[in-house]
């Protein structure tokens, strides 16, 4: 789960970055960059849940 989280974070950035090349409209770019940030936050959440479950198991 942790690895998937990290991959999602990198993918989110790639989504945001490539949208700047592929899209010209400001609205389209903004939508894709927001989507990229949301994907990154999803990845961060997955990593956080992974570490939380590790901690719960340890207790």
């Amino acid at each position: 789960m942790s690895l998937i989280g990290y991959l999602l974070m990198v993918s989110g950035w790639l989504l945001a970055f490539t949208s700047l090349f592929l899209l010209a409209g400001l609205g389209q770019r903004l939508a894709f960059v927001i989507a990229g940030v949301l994907v990154e936050l999803l990845g961060l959440t997955l990593i956080a849940l992974h570490f939380r479950s590790l901690q719960r198991d340890a207790e």
């Binding site: 609205g27 927001i34 956080a48 207790e59």
Partner: protein, 425 residues
């Protein structure tokens, strides 16, 4: 650039480091107080040396040498290419006043950034690995992102590359604070919580041992932050004298608003103001305000500070109670949470040099880069370092305290008795 004013501002920055160091040790346990202060000092020392030897070469400066690569017909400036060991400066100092200023600023700024994760690793992070993490930060992480934002790197060239406004970080909300906050998050995850923090899946309060130091540290940090905001804005954004004054005013306002918001929030939630969370609110206000400092109105700054202060109290609780992240000094909430909010706030309240959505978009690209590129990089570097120099002290050291375990003597040998050292476990 006004050299005299810039020099004075740079000389104030160490007070921010002093303030953060006091806050870190005050919010930790008494049995690790000397270790926390020594760790801060060593971190600053290692950061200064490594930054001069390697980091400055990769950070570079505006109109300096840089590595570029080409992608889809666009040229991306991604890394400085100045000589190592700051060799270019000593050969011709009179003609390199700006690089010399950038180097002096960078030494203090990278030191400040390396201090932030120490707070998240309080009471259990070993000194050797703290020094290693500081070296990685000063040698790789900070220079890389500082080049992108402050040395005409690709985030500063969004206008030429994509027709967007440049990603803007006047006082180091991203370059210092968010990077430091991401490092703090990585360290907190690698170390795990302190022993006894989560007994039976319930968070136990481990209060800081000296709240007076914490609050005094906040006052020192204000002076240092004013210097930091002004120096960075003068050096990298060439702000006017009037804007320098506005930067000073806004720094005070953002800290004040952050503190007031934290006091009110904790009063409403816990029926009494919480001193350590209010101190965190003060620093969060400074952090959030530093992204836009001299380029937004005082009213907007107050709003930024108020939201930062309230946000921090909620984030501290969420991280501790729901995500089981033990961050004794609140570094993740303060520097990462408030830093990201400050960067976004520049897009919302910054001067309308472009359509508002374009400003927000530019800031979001910077935020996406911090989360999607810099955090994985920081975490991988920390995981590798953890293999070489294990971050976490052993179980006995955790209970005994870092002072006795690593330094052989406590900070307060005559006055403190640790009852739980004698509790059977």
């Amino acid at each position: 650039m006004t050299p005299d004013l810039c020099l004075i501002c740079i000389l104030l920055i160490p007070l921010a480091a002093t303030g953060l160091a006091l806050i870190h040790q005050g919010l930790g346990r008494s049995r690790s107080a000397a270790h926390a202060m020594l760790a801060s000092l060593c971190s600053l020392a290692i950061a200064a040396i490594v930054f001069v030897l390697i980091g400055f070469s990769w950070m570079g400066f505006s109109e300096g040498l840089a590595h570029t690569f080409h992608l889809a017909g666009r040229s991306f400036d991604w890394l400085g290419a100045e000589p190592f060991f700051a060799a270019g400066l000593t050969s011709n100092l009179t003609h390199s006043l700006y690089p010399a200023f950038a180097l002096a600023f960078g030494i203090f700024a990278t030191g400040l950034s390396t201090l932030i994760p120490i707070s998240a690793g309080s009471d259990r992070w070993r000194l050797a690995s703290i020094c290693g993490a500081s070296a990685l930060s000063a040698g790789i992480v900070f220079p890389l992102f500082a080049h992108w934002v402050w040395s005409n790197g690709w985030l500063a060239q969004l206008t030429q590359l994509f027709g967007l406004p440049a990603f803007t970080d006047l006082g180091g909300a991203a370059v210092l604070n968010v990077l430091g906050g991401l490092a703090a998050l990585s360290v907190a995850w690698i170390l795990g919580p302190r022993q006894g923090k989560y007994a039976d899946r319930i968070a136990t309060a481990i209060p800081g041992h000296n709240i007076v130091h914490v609050l005094f540290g906040c006052m020192l940090a204000l002076i240092g932050w004013i210097g930091l905001d002004c120096a960075a804005s003068i050096l990298f954004y060439r702000i006017t004298y009037t804007q320098v004054l506005l930067t000073v005013i806004n720094a005070v306002l953002s800290a004040s608003a952050g503190c007031v918001a934290a006091v009110v929030t904790t009063q409403l939630r816990y029926r009494k103001p919480d001193a350590s969370l209010s101190a965190n609110g003060w620093i969060a206000g400074l952090v959030a305000g530093s992204a836009a400092c001299g380029l937004v109105s005082p009213l907007a700054t107050i709003l930024i500070g108020l939201i930062a202060g309230a946000l921090v109290t909620l984030l501290v609780e969420t991280l501790e109670l729901h995500l089981f992240i033990d961050d004794p000094g609140g570094a993740i909430s303060v520097h990462l949470g408030a830093g990201l909010w400050g960067l976004l706030a520049f897009g919302l309240f910054g001067p309308a040099t472009a359509p508002r959505p374009a400003l927000i978009l530019a800031q979001l690209i910077g935020i996406a880069t911090l989360l999607g590129v810099m955090f994985p990089l920081i975490h991988i570097l920390h995981l590798l370092l953890n293999k070489l120099f294990p971050f976490r002290v052993d179980a006995d050291g955790d209970w005994q305290g870092m002072d006795i375990r690593e330094l052989g003597a406590g900070a307060y040998p005559e006055f403190v008795v640790h009852a739980d050292e004698f509790v059977p476990r």
